[in-house]
């Protein structure tokens, strides 16, 4: 209702707002009074003066309220003390929207109608303010405190204050020094200190020094601890430093460290720890760098498919994949397994003395793969069973399976990210996600087929068992011919038509984030993959060789009898109804003292159908998997329980 023409005085020296006489006349008219020009002018001037006076006295209230901002309330107080009615309706904290009408040079405050009924019946009732409270913190000890402005969050590398520099030196000295207690304190502080953002690049740089201390396991693990502390510090924004950190961690996982030349050095633990750390970084900070997941997978795959690399690198790749989740295992390790198996088998079958060390390493790799695929099976089964159990019968099980797949495994699906953005300079240990991603055309293998295939490698060493519950019928029986087909197929994806996998309904949604962009399918697969065609047959043949050396299984192997019998026994009996999986893991494989395999407590849900099947001799031939010196009980996460021998 109040529209006032206010002319800012054009003269510089009068810094006052002036109310124009026209405004006064207008106001008078609206009140029904006619004013002459003289009177209006006089009134206008007086109004200006009174306004200035009120403003002046209102500033006093502001000063005593110890504020910098003059509020409407201050002005109202000044008005009240000079016996003028206060102005109502302007108490809101928000800025008032001023509107202008061009033609009339008129400015007015927008006065919108408020629907009180709507307001009263609104459901989003604002919560009350938090309670006023007093909190104390020691700001400066002995007058010496952080001289940096604390109110601001340092964004980039600033010139470091002496205090920060001192802190940096102390921390690095403590972490890399001898005193384990000091290290613990330093790591704890690194984990919780809120003021070290400026130091982040320096710490990252220190960590990138892993390459220069690859001979010293102790130092390496201390650096990894440092990474862990930095990653866990809630006040740090890692940003693109994630890439550098991941690169350093990958180095520890994958590189044939100088320290691993000496078999007494327990570099396996370091790799395991690094792999865990990698997954931790990935799950907590993976969203900071786009395409990180795929880059990591690529790097791991490259190592895995490079037969020249030593076994410890392969071991690293396997534990790395395992740590990244069962999908990574499914996508990278599983397709590679046939090719890789040949090499591994060759190593394991060599009983010469000179090969003893390599063979021991081979056992480590074997153990790691076993653990990884067991979890793959377990999780895959879980992901298939859950949706089916949770939904009504009205829906076709297959569709629901596909849908529920995504739903039921939220934690395992990596954040969707565009692959094409991958551009890496810093990270030598991250593969550029360029063209020719080998899993572009990757299609998930149905669980039964997967199980069959894995069983063909590991036999009863697989601690995961599937019952042939009534629900299994929805899958077509996995016949020997199919399996052998599958196995004999060259693994080149283009030449691996879906017709051989009889479960198209599962393939629709199971891939994680397949590249649908126009990357050419005609790209030649990586060399290792090109060789997989022969690799598979090689694997077969080598397993033949092995089986020959093992008299107890030679017959089964050569005839494929066990594969024939076992899968058939488990995957026949078609029925309708919700598929039910139940499985049990055979306890802990390893005791703490590594006394060999403990008896399995394998339980089968409805019917243990294949007690007649002779246990795989190979499994019994591997009494010790992953010999390690000392137990590490650091990991309490339940799904790593399979991985306990650390």
């Amino acid at each position: 209702c109040s529209s006032v023409v206010v002319n800012m005085a054009d003269r510089e020296e009068r810094r006052f707002a002036e109310v124009h006489r026209e405004s006064v006349k207008l106001m008078a008219e609206s009140a029904g009074v006619e004013l002459g020009d003289d009177v209006a002018a006089l009134l206008a001037e007086d109004v200006c003066y009174r306004l200035r006076e009120a403003t002046q006295s209102s500033s006093q209230f502001m000063r005593h309220a110890k504020r910098r901002k003059l509020t409407v309330e201050d002005f109202n107080r000044a008005l009240r003390w000079s016996n003028v009615e206060a102005i109502c309706g302007y108490g809101a904290q928000d800025a008032l929207p001023f509107r202008s009408v061009k033609e009339g040079e008129l400015f007015f405050v927008e006065d919108r109608d408020i629907n009180l009924v709507e307001l009263a019946l609104a459901t989003n009732i604002p919560k009350g303010c938090a309670e006023t409270m007093v909190r104390v913190n020691v700001s400066y000890l002995d007058g010496k405190g952080n001289l940096e402005p604390q109110g601001t969050v340092p964004t980039a590398v600033q010139s470091l204050s002496d205090d920060l520099l001192k802190y940096y030196q102390q921390i690095t000295r403590a972490i890399l020094g001898e005193d384990p207690h000091l290290m613990k304190v330093a790591l704890l502080d690194l984990q919780s200190n809120s003021k070290i953002a400026a130091l982040l690049p320096y710490f990252v740089y220190v960590i990138s020094g892993v390459k220069s201390v690859s001979h010293d396991l102790e130092q390496l693990s201390r650096l990894l601890h440092m990474v862990k502390s930095l990653v866990q510090n809630p006040y740090l924004y890692l940003g693109s430093y994630v890439r550098s950190l991941v690169s350093s961690v990958m180095y520890c996982i994958l590189e044939p460290l100088a320290a691993s030349i000496n078999p007494l050095n327990d570099h396996w633990t370091l790799r395991d720890y690094a792999a865990l750390l990698l997954s931790h970084i990935f799950w907590t900070h993976g969203d900071l760098v786009s395409g990180l997941y795929h880059q990591i997978l690529l790097s791991l795959q490259k190592v895995l498919s490079d037969p020249v690399r030593p076994l410890c690198s392969h071991y690293g790749a396997v534990v790395g994949l395992h740590a990244l989740g069962w999908k990574a295992v499914e996508r990278v390790l599983f397709p590679h397994l046939p090719a890789y198996w040949a090499n591994l088998q060759a190593v394991l079958d060599d009983y010469s003395v000179s090969n003893a060390q390599v063979k021991a390493d081979g056992h480590k790799v074997y153990g790691a793969i076993l653990v990884a695929v067991e979890r793959l099976l377990k999780m895959k089964a879980l992901s298939l069973s859950q949706p089916a159990e949770g939904t009504s019968n009205a829906q076709p099980g297959s569709v629901m399976g596909a849908m529920g797949y995504r739903v039921s495994s939220p934690g395992l699906s990596p954040p969707p990210e565009p692959l094409s953005e991958a551009a890496l300079g810093i990270a030598s240990h991250l593969q550029a996600g360029g063209a020719g991603c080998p899993w572009e055309e990757w299609t998930p293998v149905p669980l039964p087929a997967m199980y069959c295939e894995l069983y063909s490698f590991f036999g009863d060493s697989l601690a995961v068992r599937f019952s042939t519950g009534p629900g299994f019928g929805s899958y077509p029986p996995c016949t020997q011919s199919q399996l052998s087909d599958t196995r004999k197929e060259p693994s080149g994806p283009a030449s691996n038509p879906d017709t051989t996998r009889k479960m198209p309904q599962l393939t629709a949604n199971l891939n994680i984030s397949p590249r649908q962009d126009g990357s050419p399918r005609t790209d030649p697969p990586p060399p290792s993959l090109a060789a997989t065609g022969s690799g598979r047959s090689l694997a077969r043949s080598s397993s033949m060789q092995r089986s020959r050396s093992s008299s107890s299984r030679s017959g089964q192997r050569s005839a494929g009898l066990s594969r024939d019998v076992f899968p058939k026994a488990r995957f026949t009996s078609p029925q309708t109804g919700p598929p039910v999986f139940s499985f049990l893991i055979g306890g802990r494989q390893m005791g703490r003292r590594c006394q060999g395999r403990r008896p399995f407590q394998t339980t089968f849900a409805p019917t243990p159908p294949f007690s007649t099947i002779p246990p795989r001799a190979y499994a019994h031939k591997l009494p010790v998997i992953g010999r390690v010196g000392k137990p590490v009980r650091r990991w309490t996460c339940s799904h790593y329980s399979l991985h306990l021998p650390l």
Partner: protein, 751 residues
């Protein structure tokens, strides 16, 4: 509460009532009121005889008449009578009605005095509480809008000169001053500002609006930058009608602007004006300026700048001549029954010998009477209760563990952040033992928090109290209601923002002053309001408890500081003289004096005993918002909106230091317990620590400086600054040193 010490040997009457020289106009009239109030009616006759008289210049008489008129209009008959008697004005001015009521008024006043005296406290017999009518003294009279008497005051401007010539006069004076010798120029330049103001006001008063504007535009740029605020007020005033009710203007009119000029410079000016027959300017100088002439070297520009800036010029030298007993009172001797245990404990630790001589020295020190200290019974102080003695013992014990601070040993700082204080935090105080913190808020609430793990508990209700065993040893514990234990308590009662807050030294009471014009006393036992002290009818900006308890001071928008005792609902003293709002109040450590800081940019020190203003400190360029006495009582530190801390020697009445560094208003000042460090907290989100020892040690107080009050300030702020400590976007509005010298700071987090 507290029984007041009785048995004052002195008589009822004040013998040493000081008369302020050259009282004229309204400002001094206010001062008169203050004094009138503080003297008992019986002593009026001798007081009147001391007065400089009334038969003085006609405008004085006119002013007095105006005041009388006003007083009568407001039925302040007793004051009228007193004033009339003192001023020697003829009785016939009073109408019969007034005469009648004046008699009645006197009687009433006497009656009230008697009833108060019946209280048996000797303080009251000595210091008579004024009658209630007088308590509402006309300090805000100036603000009234349609009072004819004010126009009488203003009429002093009615003399008419040729408005066109004002510019000529002013420029010719300007030319003259620019051509005099350098040594005189700085001194003579002082007259520019008051002349400019008065000439402008004359023009405005005589309705020469355009000439006034032109005059302002031409010469306002020449004025010192620290007068900018006043100039802004002045520039908004262009009409005669506006002059009524404008407080700033009345300040100019009613008080003479004080200048200190050496005799040589003054002679120069006088000769020039007389030669040129520049009567217009000469008249203004005669009427509106008070030139304090001294013999000796003219002062330099920096010397002048250091002292100027206040609303009414510098303080007259006589104003700071009175003797101030700034020494500390002797600490009462307390046997330390608990100390033996402590000593035994120390024995086990293996350093018993260190303590004994120390204790002895402390004891002997406290026995010696400081020559500068007031006598122990100069003002009656409450006797110590057992709990006070216990607290004193605690204090002494803590003091032995106190950290010795210094430039190389700075205090640790703890910051108490008020979170979610959306309603606006306006005041904070800590108890002396740092166990409680209280905040005053703009939403009229006062909140008290316990800083220690000990929760706040109320006393049980009367019915429950009847049930407890009063003979038991832990009766003090039993009276507390465990159910009410909480970390904080909210005190409701005010109806406006709480601007000032102060704990009593014994932690039983809390004072709060508010915009609603009242000061409230809260009990920290029951967490209820005990008394609302009404008297200031305008916002009360600050209040402060005496370090000995019982008394407190308050000051506010009405420009009057009031001294109260907790058990009297009317003030014991009213201290008037400031020309603008009193923004902060502070008691001297010996409780005999109190300091007030004001928006008129001066600090005044008042004697509690007789209500006199004993010191006026000028030099700040903005309203003063923080005051702190040094623990030894010798020095005063003040902080203002100009971001400077000034240090004052109370004994000599001199400015002794200037600490520059803050970039915004200083809201809190505090000396460390031993006085080595001065901490200042500001709106610029920093706490700064200053080397107070060095600042005071470097003083050269030779006789000349002491005599003339001309100081040479070195610019050594940077050397004295020991540290700057940033908060997290939190203005520092309170500082406190714990008994062991840990610095506590408080403020509301402003995201």
């Amino acid at each position: 509460m507290a029984a007041v010490q009785s048995g004052m040997g002195e008589g009822v009457e004040e013998k040493d009532i000081k008369t302020e020289p050259a009282s004229d106009g309204f400002g001094n009239n206010n001062a008169n009121d203050g004094r009138l109030v503080s003297t008992s009616p019986g002593s009026n006759a001798p007081a009147a005889s001391n007065k400089p008289v009334a038969g003085g210049p006609p405008e004085d008489q006119q002013t007095l008449l105006a005041v009388l008129q006003f007083l009568r209009k407001n039925k302040l008959t007793e004051s009228v009578e007193i004033l009339r008697r003192e001023a020697g004005l003829p009785e016939d001015d009073l109408d019969p009605n007034g005469a009648d009521s004046s008699g009645a008024g006197t009687g009433g006043a006497a009656g009230s005095v008697d009833s108060d005296a019946g209280d048996a406290s000797s303080l009251l017999t000595r210091v008579t509480v004024s009658s209630s009518a007088a308590a509402q003294a006309p300090t805000k009279a100036a603000a009234g809008e349609d009072q004819p008497d004010v126009s009488v005051v203003l009429s002093a401007y009615s003399q008419q000169g040729d408005p066109a010539l004002y510019e000529v006069y002013y420029s010719s004076l300007k030319r003259f001053i620019e051509t005099v010798l350098d040594c005189h120029r700085a001194e003579l330049s002082q007259v520019f500002y008051p002349l400019f103001v008065h000439m402008y006001l004359e023009l405005v008063y005589n309705n020469h609006e355009n000439e006034a504007k032109a005059f302002f535009e031409k010469f306002s740029g020449d004025q010192e930058c620290y007068y900018e605020d006043d100039l802004r007020v002045l520039s908004s005033l262009t009409k005669k009608e506006h002059m009524r009710g404008n407080e700033t203007l009345l300040d100019f009119r009613t008080s003479k602007f004080v200048l200190r000029i050496s005799r040589d410079s003054y002679q120069l000016l006088k000769r020039h004006l007389q030669e040129r027959q520049n009567n217009q300017i000469w008249n203004i100088i005669q009427e509106h300026l008070y030139i304090d002439i001294f013999d000796g070297m003219p002062r330099s520009k920096s010397q002048i700048d250091a002292m100027s800036g206040s609303l009414a010029g510098e303080a007259k030298r006589e104003a700071n001549k009175a003797k101030v007993y700034y020494g500390l009172l002797k600490e009462p001797e307390i046997e330390l029954p608990l100390d033996d245990e402590d000593e035994e404990a120390e024995n086990e630790e293996g350093k018993p010998k260190k303590k004994k001589p120390k204790k002895d020295s402390m004891g002997s020190k406290s026995k010696k009477q400081d020559p500068n200290a007031p006598s122990q019974s100069r003002i009656p102080l409450p006797e110590l209760k057992d709990s006070d003695k216990l607290d004193k013992i605690m204090y002494m014990k803590e003091a032995t563990k106190r950290i010795r601070l210094g430039p190389d040993n700075l205090p640790s700082i703890c910051f108490y952040s008020f979170l979610n204080a959306y309603q606006g935090l306006t005041a904070v105080d800590f108890t002396d033992d740092s166990s409680l913190i209280a905040g005053g808020f703009a939403d009229s609430t006062v909140r008290v928090w316990s800083v220690t793990p000990k929760k706040l508990r109320k006393v049980k209700s009367a019915a429950d109290l009847n049930l407890i065993d009063k003979e038991s040893d832990d009766v003090l514990e039993r009276i507390m209601d465990e159910k009410t234990a909480s970390e904080s308590k909210i005190l409701y009662g005010h109806s406006g923002p709480v601007y000032g807050i102060s704990f009593s030294p014994d932690r039983n009471y809390l004072l709060s002053s508010s915009e609603d014009g009242t000061v409230r006393l809260w009990s920290l036992q029951t967490f209820t309001c005990l008394v609302g002290y009404k008297g200031h009818n305008y916002p009360v900006w600050d209040t402060h408890f005496s370090p000995h308890g019982y008394y407190f001071v308050s000051g506010g928008h009405d420009r009057v500081a009031r001294l109260w005792a907790t058990d009297h609902y009317q003030p014991l003293r009213m201290f008037s003289g400031h020309l603008a709002d009193i923004t902060c109040t502070r008691f001297h450590p010996n409780s005999n004096y109190l300091a007030t800081g004001s928006s008129d940019r001066t600090i005044r020190l008042w004697d509690v005993l007789n209500g006199n203003c004993v010191r006026i400190f000028t030099g700040h360029k903005g309203p003063i918002h923080a005051l702190a006495f040094s623990p030894n009582g010798k020095f005063l530190a003040s902080g203002a909106t100009d971001g400077r801390v000034l240090l004052w020697d109370i004994g000599h009445g001199l400015m002794v230091g200037e600490l520059k560094g803050h970039t915004d208003t200083i809201y809190s000042l505090r000396f460390s317990r031993d006085g080595e460090i001065l901490a200042s907290g500001s709106m610029d989100n920093t706490v700064r620590l200053w080397d107070a020892m060095k600042a005071f040690d470097d003083l050269e107080t030779d006789d000349f400086t002491a005599a003339t009050g001309h100081i040479h300030l070195q610019d050594n702020s940077q050397e004295l600054l020991l540290g700057t400590y940033l908060t997290k976007s939190t203005p520092v509005i309170h500082l406190h040193f714990t008994r062991r010298n840990l610095l506590l700071a408080a403020g509301a987090y402003n995201p």
